[in-house]
């Protein structure tokens, strides 16, 4: 009995996502100690809300990173901005257009993902360069379309984005639903199997009959779609789209994948870790904030903490 409990504990310790959640918990309680236990509910609710944005873009980035070395989607921020600005302008504050507006945002994502993929496929540009240069196009498009207007989201949509159901923020529910679907997709579906094969050895995958090009296209498109959904939700949540709304999500989307214990070398990823990493990214910053550190120290500490987490996780029998 005792030994089976011990082995269960060891099995959890060996999970690559364990460290992200452990560190998040520590950061959460370290913040609470300062306020002597007050405001725990608010902190948790804020963490869950903001982590949802990071988690959704992070999941898209995770699928791309799983494809192996060189595969990363740098167009996530610009896609978020473009989808946010376009859909808000389209809805123009009218409640009836909420769902068509969502469709509008998702269409932007599909188009951006397909464009990224075509650059990589047809022009044989390395993904990093292709998505980076495409992101300038998307960003310019957003500026051109937007012309400095600040349009408010429909009130019902804003209420939904800032509201909660049964004590859980609505955005968190969406984020968790997406995570569960992605988890099943990665672990149980044929698509997940193919993505992993692609990331381990693309040539061998191709020779084993894996439709590698279809897999790559689907992966880049889903990353862009998740980014555009995040853009739509973030714009609704914060009362309007802004041209710099995606900026911080470039690093965050990559950081949550790495902190979550997915292999940067590709082929081996996990979804729970994305949520762990997303919570950690928020909680570390709010912990350092509440301890009164300045912006410079905060950035240094954030970097150091990320390095420590990744080192701890990779030390536990996880290769690569």
């Amino acid at each position: 009995m005792a030994s089976s409990r011990l082995s269960l504990l060891l099995a959890i310790l060996r999970r690559p996502w364990f460290w992200a959640f452990a560190a998040s918990t520590i950061a959460f309680f370290a913040t609470l100690t300062l306020s002597e236990g007050r405001g725990g509910g608010e902190l948790l609710s804020a963490a869950l809300t903001f982590a949802s944005f990071s988690a959704i873009v992070g999941i898209g980035q995770m699928f791309v990173i799983t494809l192996g070395p060189g595969n990363v989607d740098l167009s996530i921020p610009a896609t978020m901005t473009l989808a946010g600005t376009l859909s808000l302008k389209f809805m123009d504050g009218q409640t009836a257009l909420i769902l068509p507006g969502l469709g509008n945002a998702l269409a932007v994502g599909i188009a951006a993902g397909a464009f990224n993929y075509l650059l990589i496929r047809l022009l044989r540009i390395p993904p990093i360069i292709a998505t980076l240069s495409a992101s300038f196009l998307y960003q310019s498009l957003a500026i051109w379309w937007n012309r400095g207007l600040r349009i408010k989201p429909p009130e019902a949509l804003a209420d939904f984005a800032t509201g909660s159901t049964g004590g859980i923020p609505n955005l968190t529910i969406i984020g968790i639903l997406i995570a569960v679907v992605s988890w099943v997709l990665l672990e149980r579906s044929i698509f997940g199997r193919w993505v992993s094969a692609f990331g381990q050895n693309t040539r061998a995958a191709r020779l084993s009959g894996v439709p590698v090009e279809a897999v790559r296209a689907a992966t880049y498109i889903s990353s862009a779609v998740l980014a555009s959904l995040t853009g739509y939700l973030l714009a609704s949540f914060s009362g309007g789209a802004a041209l710099n709304m995606g900026t911080e999500y470039l690093l965050i989307s990559i950081a949550v994948v790495v902190i979550g214990g997915s292999s940067i070398a590709g082929g081996n990823s996990n979804v729970p870790g994305i949520w762990g990493g997303a919570l950690l990214m928020f909680l570390v910053v709010s912990m350092l904030n509440s301890y009164g550190f300045g912006a410079g120290v905060r950035l240094i500490m954030t970097g150091a903490i990320i390095i420590a987490i990744v080192a701890a996780a990779s030390g536990k029998g996880r290769s690569v």
Binding site: S208, G209, P211
Partner: protein, 493 residues
């Protein structure tokens, strides 16, 4: 490469390496189970046994890469000092040439020499390295066309193997005294393999020692002074080579050699073979149920022709559920194995789309497929959930065979699939190929080994990227194949 110890003198009785009761356990697996052996200067020891018999583990113990769980390994240096451990193994002049090619493909030939030769440091080391490797290549493989500045990734498999062998024999800080060759000829064609065997004999005559591991018994008989047979982690026979016959050797390994069913095959194949199913731009053709061989010297365009054909018939979404072709890789690391996955996942990859419901893999069906093929093809593992890399090379190859044969593809493309596979497994694989062909599957089979090519119904011989001859029936024999491989004039290409 002259040595202080004169061959035949009293000192030559002092062994270079002495193992006594060496055991290596990986968890419950006894990879090496009490091996005692000595290797003296001037000896060439042929080490044979099936896949997973413990040969590679024995090699890793001898070269100091693995410390035995129990028992001891002792090295005697050229000056007579005795010691143990990896540092002594290096000082003793023990070099290994591995079966799994271990060169870095992104580096040049001379830069790769830097990995084993740690004395190559400081200003101008590349020049020293280039000198060492080209002298060794010139000595072992005259007429090779390898420049020290070439990137390894651009070399053919055979050339990479030649580089690796040359690095094993090249001069260095410590001269090579014992060179371990693990399946050195598996990607070499007959002519190059011959050059290597001659070099091994020269090296041993000058007082060097060689451990020669090969599944090609003919080669072992040609060079070995002593043959040690391994089975289940033990040495079960150790005698001078002249005391063995090929048959007694195979019996000692524990596989009963099967008589070649040459006479029956013509009749049988007449009934089996149907209409034409493929024709490529090179002129490669095959009919339903036919086993078509691609022969010729290594690196003359056979692998490229196969790859082009495979790529043209696969990769689309329509071909996922009903593949037209399946592929068996010979270069496992580059073309076959998914290193992070279990044996099961590696095995089912090609057929998996047929085991899917609503986009999700039906794991019971996947496990059943794996269990069936483990049984049919004899993969040596107690659990298919183990990592693929826990298997020996030959067993990994079986998994790749199973991956292709488990699919419904009517055409199977095989790119030198028997590299590093033991005699018994080869016989089983031949049998399975014939059986599958009997059920109407077509095989395109590139092989560097002539006796494998001779199992085919039709053979295309390649030279310089083109087909130089098409042989059928009784014309398929070593002479004709060699003639077509080397033909220099007369066909007005």
């Amino acid at each position: 490469m002259q040595l202080a110890t004169g061959a035949g003198g009293p000192e030559s009785d002092v062994p270079l390496v002495a193992l006594s009761g060496a055991c290596v356990h990986f968890g419950a697996v006894r990879a090496l189970d009490g091996v005692s052996l000595t290797i003296s200067p001037g000896e060439c020891v042929g080490l044979i046994g099936h896949n997973g018999a413990g040969k590679s583990t024995a090699v890793n113990v001898i070269n100091g890469g693995l410390t035995p769980t129990s028992g001891s390994v002792q090295y005697t240096l050229a000056d007579g000092t005795v010691g143990t451990g990896a540092a002594f193994a290096r000082a003793c002049g023990i070099r290994s040439v591995f079966q799994e090619l271990s060169l870095c493909p992104n580096l040049t030939v001379m830069e790769n020499l830097r990995v084993p030769h740690r004395d190559l440091t400081g200003f101008g080391w590349r020049k020293t390295a280039a000198g060492r490797i080209s002298r060794a290549l010139d000595e072992i493989f005259p007429d090779h066309r390898i420049e020290p500045g070439m990137t390894v990734g651009d070399l053919t498999l055979a050339e990479r193997q030649m580089v690796e062998i040359a690095a094993g024999f090249a001069e260095g800080a410590t001269p090579a005294r014992l060179v371990i060759l693990d399946e050195p000829t598996s990607s070499l064609d007959a002519a190059i393999a011959r050059q290597l065997l001659q070099h091994v004999r020269r090296f041993c005559a000058n007082g060097g020692a060689v451990i020669f591991i090969s599944h090609m018994l003919g080669e072992v008989f040609e060079v070995a002074t002593r043959i040690d047979v391994m089975k289940d982690g033990k040495i079960i026979a150790s005698k001078p080579a002249s005391d063995f016959t090929p048959q007694s050797l195979i019996n000692a390994m524990g596989h009963v050699a099967k008589e070649k069913a040459e006479a029956g095959s013509a009749v049988e194949s007449g009934q089996r073979i149907g209409g034409e199913v493929l024709r490529t731009t090179e002129g490669l053709t095959a009919r339903k149920g036919e086993i078509v061989g691609l022969a010729g010297l290594a690196g003359h365009g056979q692998a490229e022709a196969l790859a082009r054909f495979f790529m043209s018939r696969s990769g689309g979404l329509r071909q996922v559920k009903e593949p037209e072709v399946a592929f068996v890789a010979g270069d496992r690391g580059r073309d076959g194995v998914m290193p992070l996955w279990s044996i099961l996942r590696n095995l089912t990859l090609t057929h998996l789309p047929s085991l899917v419901r609503h986009g999700l893999v039906v794991s019971a069906a996947e496990r059943k497929l794996g269990a069936d093929w483990k049984e049919r093809i004899g993969i040596r593992t107690d659990n298919l959930e183990n990592l693929i890399l826990s298997l020996s090379g030959g067993n990994q190859q079986k998994v790749l065979f199973a991956r292709a044969l488990a699919s419904t593809a009517p055409i199977v493309v095989m790119d030198d699939p028997m590299r590093g596979v033991d005699v018994g497994t080869k016989q089983e694989a031949y049998e399975m190929i014939r059986w599958e062909a009997g059920r109407g599957r077509t095989f395109l089979w590139y092989s560097t080994e002539t006796d494998e090519v001779c199992q085919c119904d039709r053979v295309f011989v390649f030279r310089n990227g083109r087909i130089s001859a098409e042989l059928t029936g009784s014309d398929i024999n070593e002479e004709n194949i060699l003639a077509a491989s080397f033909e220099m004039q007369g066909d007005g290409a």
